[in-house]
């Protein structure tokens, strides 16, 4: 029978399983790997549960363990070897003025186009954007999960949205 401590953990953690699995799938792009990664995250989190500080963001804590676990997988190691040049300050925000009036015309009701655009985002941009928009995690917690400065989180989110808008614009001519 589970001890009360394990029950506490399950009560907090199990509702996060769909979110963690979804994020794991985006990271690994493979159903079996995603499930393995989510399971590994839960096992590690349970073992480390005593080190979790009550009052801090449990969801962010779980996502951080998920990401650290991902980085030790073959896919994660390969991904971490890819240098993400877009974080380089000189390439950032040189032309980003946010959405222009023309961007209001992008077709957001086309789910297939949205999925395709998300697939095309560079993984570091997509990861930050998903943590913000899908998981609704705060910038400072995303910075903690990704182990990057908060300014980098803001840059990645800004760049991800700009890239999405650019990717979605060609749909305009095709769909109208």
């Amino acid at each position: 029978m589970p001890s009360s401590r394990t029950e506490d953990f399950e009560q907090l953690a199990l509702p996060l399983f769909p979110s963690l699995y979804n994020h794991a799938f985006w990271l690994t792009r493979n159903q079996a790997e995603a499930e393995d990664l989510a399971q590994e995250t839960f096992t590690k989190s349970l073992r480390a549960f005593d080190s979790f500080q009550p009052g801090t963001n449990f969801k962010a804590w779980m996502f951080r363990i998920l990401r650290n676990s991902f980085l030790t997988t073959r896919t994660g190691i390969a991904a971490s070897r890819t240098v993400f040049l877009e974080d380089h300050p000189e390439t950032l925000d040189t032309a980003d003025r946010g959405p222009t009036p023309e961007d209001n015309l992008i077709r957001l009701d086309n789910q297939a186009a949205l999925h395709a655009a998300l697939e095309q985002l560079p993984p570091p941009l997509r990861e930050a954007l998903l943590l913000c928009d899908v998981e609704e995690i705060k910038y400072k917690d995303i910075a903690n999960i990704l182990d990057v400065p908060i300014g980098t989180v803001m840059s990645r989110i800004s760049r991800a949205r700009r890239t999405l808008r650019q990717l979605l614009q060609p749909q305009l001519g095709e769909s109208l």
């Binding site: 979804n22 650290n68 959405p99 899908v134 903690n144």
Partner: protein, 270 residues
């Protein structure tokens, strides 16, 4: 903030960063109010905010795309319940004090073991090591801003007794004067490593954070194949007749070895 944005739009329009922070709920109440005041009079920015909000909503829907297989949750709960159960922290376990061997031979032996293991520890990571991943995860967790150890003390006379009754083994801590230069004990935590209860000692060496994990050798005779480095962090270990000690840090490896040596020496005060 000026209330006449349309007279000087180049200055007054929302920057992309402010716009993102606004739709992500990251602005302070005062900043938010200023943005709302601007939006009340600026049609262009209102359209931009509308567009950005629609994109955010659409992203949230499209990003929530992969659903676990129906049986995955039951597999997960079965796996969790097969793990060694975590029990509430204040355990009234009868610790069996392990008396340290106090012979001159031991000092020589410990030094030899430390040297051997440290040399092994220099090897670079090739095969992923589960234990190394766990060590690094826990070390990184201690670095996070919200993490505070359960015992915050630079005094070994506070830290050591705190573990009594919480761990099924005991250990000695060196006096501050016996620690290497610029090495400070910051606190301690109780944790689990390799499914074993472990003492986590937190030090700083020249401002670098160091985690030292102590586990009982009787319950896990070998540590397995530990990489010397992982993702830029040094992982060095040492053993005594009773204990495994594993240190994780981004400090100079030689400084980490000095700390391990001091900890080994402390187990043999006589």
């Amino acid at each position: 903030m000026s209330q006449t944005p349309q007279t000087n739009p180049a200055i007054e329009h929302l920057s992309p960063g402010t716009l993102n922070a606004f739709i992500d709920g990251e602005l302070s109440p005062a900043e938010r109010q200023a943005v709302e005041q601007h939006l009340a009079t600026c049609h262009a920015c209102t359209l931009r905010v509308l567009s950005a909000t629609q994109l955010k909503t659409a992203t949230a829907g499209a990003g929530r795309r992969f659903v676990p297989p129906p049986e995955a949750l039951s597999r997960l709960t079965a796996q969790l319940r097969s793990q060694p159960q975590i029990e509430p922290l204040p355990q009234k376990r009868k610790s069996t004090p392990i008396h340290l061997v106090r012979t001159a031979i031991w000092a020589t032996l410990a030094a030899a073991i430390l040297l051997t293991v440290s040399l092994l520890g220099w090897r670079e990571l090739h095969p992923p090591s589960t234990l190394a991943a766990e060590l690094l995860d826990q070390h990184l967790a201690t670095l996070s801003s919200g993490a505070t150890p359960q015992v915050i003390s630079t005094d070994r006379h506070t830290v050591k007794p705190w573990f009594q009754g919480r761990l099924p083994f005991s250990f000695n801590l060196p006096d501050n004067t016996a620690l290497p230069p610029d090495t400070v004990l910051k606190g301690a935590d109780l944790t689990y490593l390799n499914n074993q209860p472990a003492a986590l000692l937190l030090f700083t060496i020249h401002k670098h954070e160091v985690s030292v994990f102590l586990t009982q050798r009787a319950t896990s005779p070998t540590l397995g194949d530990l990489p010397g480095t992982r993702r830029g962090f040094t992982i060095h270990s040492a053993t005594t007749p009773d204990l495994h000690m594993i240190a994780v840090s981004d400090v100079n490896p030689a400084d980490l070895d000095l700390l391990l040596a001091a900890l080994v020496q402390a187990q043999n005060p006589g």
